[in-house]
């Protein structure tokens, strides 16, 4: 399996093949429904985002709480299609990669291609397995959203398949 470093650069994205397995290492931001709604509302109001998404990868997940000294709880992907209404706006503001599960709407696929971005899928329902690929986790925005807060994860050899680019 090919090893890929995060953040991604556009040259690497160009070299990816649909259906190819990759192992991702580096920084991911987590965001799911509630965080997406807030981010896009901020953009609509012309305000500044609480974190920069330029060149970043968003992982659609809402982890279970970490126990004691553990880094994170179970953290598998959630259904990406629910983020579809918000995704084009984030791509326009520099988001470059997304990881989730399941199909995307046609207009989202068009947007992904237009901005030279990439959508990966990982293994839904493998929350315990994927938690072992996370080296650190810290909330960086919207802490009141608890599981839906935006976190910065450092992952190592996080398995995914190239689905749309």
């Amino acid at each position: 399996m090919r090893k890929i470093d995060l953040p991604l650069d556009k040259k690497i994205i160009k070299s990816l093949k649909i259906g190819e397995w990759v192992l991702l290492s580096g920084r991911l931001l987590t965001a799911r429904d509630a965080a997406h709604k807030r981010l896009v509302d901020v953009l609509k109001n012309g305000k500044k985002l609480p974190i920069s998404i330029k060149g970043e990868a968003i992982y659609y997940t809402g982890p279970t709480p970490a126990r004691g000294k553990e880094v994170i709880g179970a953290c598998g992907p959630t259904t990406s299609a629910r983020m579809d209404p918000f995704t084009p706006a984030l791509l326009r503001h520099g988001l470059i990669a997304m990881i989730g599960k399941g199909e995307r709407a046609k207009e989202v696929a068009v947007s992904i291609k237009k901005y030279g971005a990439v959508y990966f899928v990982t293994i839904g329902g493998a929350g315990a397995y994927l938690s072992e690929r996370v080296n650190s986790s810290a909330v960086v925005a919207y802490s009141d959203l608890e599981t839906e807060a935006i976190r910065e994860l450092i992952v190592e050899d996080f398995p995914a398949i190239v689905a749309i680019k």
């Binding site: 259906g19 397995w21 509630a34 997940t61 809402g62 982890p63 279970t64 709480p65 970490a66 126990r67 709880g73 179970a74 953290c75 598998g76 959630t78 259904t79 299609a81 599960k101 399941g102 199909e103 899928v121 293994i123 839904g124 329902g125 493998a126 929350g127 315990a128 397995y129 938690s131 072992e132 959203l145 608890e146 599981t147 839906e148 398995p159 398949i161």
Partner: protein
């Protein structure tokens, strides 16, 4: 009359919530292993291997199988000769609260479906109560994640619509859902009754061990036929193609009205979770 104390109910519900979230049902695990054996292509075989490894890892590390630790649905079958000491529903909810705290499970419930503020406790749960003969209390805890819940459907057919139409509706539902539901899925189907009864049956259908068929020959035939049709879709684990789109189909039926034929499809992911205890 036999007395059952509320603290015993709380303790039992807590134990069942912990078990259901951490230990994958044995029949589901077996079905996943069989699906892996049947798969020849390397990618779906690899993904099924990870799903199976995930189940073992969760049990070993006492971690939830899936981060979506669901909305809790509790089935109480209360013997009519049982007297409950204390408040039965409060006792159940206390058990859920304790399990979600102790297990470090995700709190996924919002108090108002439109205002959407997290309750922070994973409460309320949904409690179904049935009064039955005897002096036992049968408690079943179901953990339902919403990736697959969102893809479930109902349709009111006409009384003499063919089973082909029903099969097409079910296969169409699975096709439309794609890999959002975390295949291989267990498909629960309720046929008959009223709208709510059909939905209730479709939920209870996945409590039957996967692979076991209906005792009614025409329903068992329908189950096999739907399973074949769905697996011909080749959505496969993670949506990457493969033979295992569904690991099983279970249908429950109930008498219905001369004017109707309600059908409900409940899709349950490869982490179909529940636990049961009789006290």
């Amino acid at each position: 009359m036999r007395t059952v104390k509320d603290i015993l109910i709380t303790k039992t519900v807590k134990g069942l919530c912990l078990k259901a979230n951490i230990e994958l049902r044995k029949d589901i695990l077996l079905a996943l292993r069989q699906a892996r054996k049947r798969e020849f292509a390397s990618t779906p075989k690899y993904v099924l291997g990870i799903i199976i490894e995930n189940a073992y890892l969760a049990k070993k590390k006492r971690l939830p199988i899936c981060q979506d630790t669901g909305m809790v649905v509790v089935y109480l079958r209360l013997g009519q000769e049982v007297r409950i000491k204390g408040d039965i529903k409060k006792a159940v909810e206390k058990g859920v609260t304790q399990a979600y705290k102790q297990g470090f499970f995700r709190k996924s419930i919002v108090s108002d479906p439109l205002k959407r503020k997290n309750t922070g406790t994973n409460l309320p749960s949904i409690i179904h109560t049935d009064i039955v003969p005897g002096n036992k209390l049968d408690i079943r805890v179901v953990i339902k994640g919403f990736g697959c819940e969102n893809a479930s459907r109902t349709k009111m057919f006409r009384p003499f619509d063919s089973t082909d139409l029903i099969e097409d509706f079910i296969a169409g539902t699975i096709k439309e859902a794609g890999s959002k539901t975390c295949p291989p899925v267990y498909i629960g189907i309720g046929i008959g009754g009223t709208l709510d009864k059909a939905v209730g049956l479709s939920k209870e259908a996945v409590l039957r061990p996967v692979g076991r068929h209906s005792r009614l020959p025409h329903i068992a035939r329908l189950e096999r036929s739907i399973l074949k049709k769905v697996n011909r879709l080749e959505i496969g684990p993670m949506g990457i193609g493969g033979k295992a789109t569904a690991m099983g189909v279970s249908i429950l039926t109930y008498p219905t009205h001369i004017a109707g034929l309600p059908v409900a499809v409940n899709i349950s992911c490869h982490a179909t979770r529940d636990a049961r205890r009789v006290i």
